[in-house]
């Protein structure tokens, strides 16, 4: 088990964040006096200098920001700033983060954005600041500006998977699914084995297929693509709850559509584009059964808190459970 202090607080893990933020103040008080009293090079003689310490400091800073414990966060920020200097890119981003968190209203946030603008004017290569700027813009609802910023950033650095994923998110929120799919494909180019990104792409494709005209060849194509993506994500990560959930939904939809379409095109519809042929009904049916069985197994074992089956997110488990229950009701009727 790794040190919990070294694990970054994330939005998907609120209990860990809470635990971290509660540790923040005692940890701050437990520092020996010489951490703060001596200037940087001298403090090295007394205090052990380790990467872990600063990683922990950053995590505790972030956690206390999330927990809205601004004074403690400020103390950590001062620590970090003293050690790494004001001009360090990461420190600048952390400072921006603090300013964002302490901003009371939208106007204060706009000031933060202006501050970022000025920093970027002096040095356009500060990617961390650029990302902060995008995050603020997205937060205040200026999606179009955020997209513009992201596009600029990605033109300069097209291998930045994080930025691509963020851009995809922006596009999804605006209903531009085709663009979002493109962005997620870029993410996969950088990280080919990220099963969660495969699943995310499949989700976007599923939403996209829902918007298409019922029973059209295009919808069939997108839906089968989505189903295959879910398959891939499961192939990469065993017992991936989100993957199975998506697989179940897509196969159910596919079965409904394949039934309706009298004569499903067996061969690849467009050879030049190199599309895959739609899957066979029997295969889809099997996959649906597999997904149902697996989901039931995951829900059962995880709620029984079996060893090795913990770590699923509670909300996802509940959703899976609800879907299984709905399914069984339908059969009973």
């Amino acid at each position: 088990m790794s040190d919990p202090l070294l694990e970054a607080p994330t939005q998907t893990n609120p209990s860990h964040t809470l635990a971290l933020s509660q540790k923040a103040r005692p940890y701050l008080d437990s520092r020996p006096w010489y951490f703060t009293t001596l200037p940087y090079p001298l403090s090295l003689f007394l205090a052990p200098e380790s990467q872990e310490r600063w990683a922990a400091s950053q995590n505790l800073f972030l956690a206390s920001l999330i927990a809205d414990d601004l004074p403690v966060a400020y103390a950590y920020l001062e620590d970090i700033t003293e050690r790494f200097g004001k001009l360090n890119e990461r420190v600048m981003a952390l400072q921006g983060l603090y300013q964002e968190a302490s901003a009371k209203d939208t106007k204060a946030l706009e000031d933060v954005v202006k501050n970022y603008d000025e920093l970027l004017k002096t040095d356009p290569t500060l990617m961390a600041i650029r990302k902060r700027r995008v995050a603020v813009l997205k937060g205040v609802g200026r999606i179009a500006d955020a997209v513009g910023d992201l596009v600029l950033m990605l033109d300069a650095s097209p291998t930045d998977a994080e930025a691509w994923a963020e851009l995809a998110d922006c596009y999804v929120s605006q209903g531009a699914y085709e663009q979002a799919v493109w962005c997620l494909e870029e993410v996969l180019l950088v990280m080919p084995n990220a099963w969660n990104m495969h699943a995310r792409l499949a989700e976007v494709q599923y939403i996209q297929s829902q918007k298409m005209s019922e029973g059209s060849g295009e919808q069939l194509k997108t839906l089968s693509e989505s189903m295959r993506r879910f398959c891939r994500s499961i192939e990469l990560c065993d017992d991936y709850l989100r993957g199975y959930y998506g697989l179940k939904i897509t196969t159910a939809r596919l079965l409904a559509i394949l039934e309706k379409v009298k004569k499903p095109p067996t061969a690849s519809s467009d050879l030049v584009a190199g599309d895959l042929a739609p899957p066979k009904v029997a295969t889809v049916y099997k996959l649906n059964e597999l997904a149902t069985a697996k989901l039931a197994e995951i829900v059962r074992r995880s709620s029984a808190e079996e060893k090795g089956w913990d770590g699923y997110s509670g909300a996802e488990l509940k959703a899976a459970k609800a879907m299984i229950e709905k399914d069984t009701q339908k059969i009973e009727r």
Partner: protein, 259 residues
Amino acid sequence: MAGPVEQQIHRDPALFYWILLPITVVMILTGVLRHYLTVLLTSTPKRQPLEKLREQRHLAHIRLLIANSPQIPRASFEKRREWIAEQVKDGGFLAGGPESRGSAKPNPLSDPAMMEGMMGMMKGQVAMMVPQSLIMGWINAFFSGYVIMKLPFPLTPQFKQMLQAGVGTRDLDVRWVSSLSWYFLTLFGLQPVYNFILGSNNGANQMAQQMQMQQAGQQMPGVDDMDKIFQAELENVEVVEHWYVLDGVEERLLKRLGG
């Protein structure tokens, strides 16, 4: 019968305390000093300008596209391929814009950023060389000509030059080590000791440092013709035979999970 007669030299035990020990201690201390000196002297690498960064990232992007093309459907792969071909033909990826292609390579010495990098390297070299020559002079001046220790194992005569530098006695057994040789032995052999004292990526051993510098010198950036590199990568993109990882994934999955 006794074996071959072993050479006996009666050494003053003071030799051990006043020569062997001081040389070793001084060598370790210089290593530590050198480590901190390099830490102080290393200048943080300068940020690349945005244009240069863009050029390199796009190159990396093309390479990623080649390596991971199975992840995306053929249609979107073809679209990307076309776009890259267009950009490379227009020189859109180049740091200096399309106009800069074909222009003569800039002299690396005239670039101030490059000069700075070289200065950093020079500083490092000096930090290596000065203590090394100082200590060698010190040992030569005070301790040359002493035989200070005897190795506990026999060696072939080839080691004579290595172990008995500064002692001009032909018949001396190879096992005897002169002070100058002890200096060289510590110079090359103290790396584990530094690792123990300073942690594993220390800058104490000048040999490893010099090796690194030579490598860094070989791959100096900015000297290559980026346009040519992009053309070569474009060719690589064009010959990629696309296959799709989702092809038959459902059968694979069913087979594996026994569906």
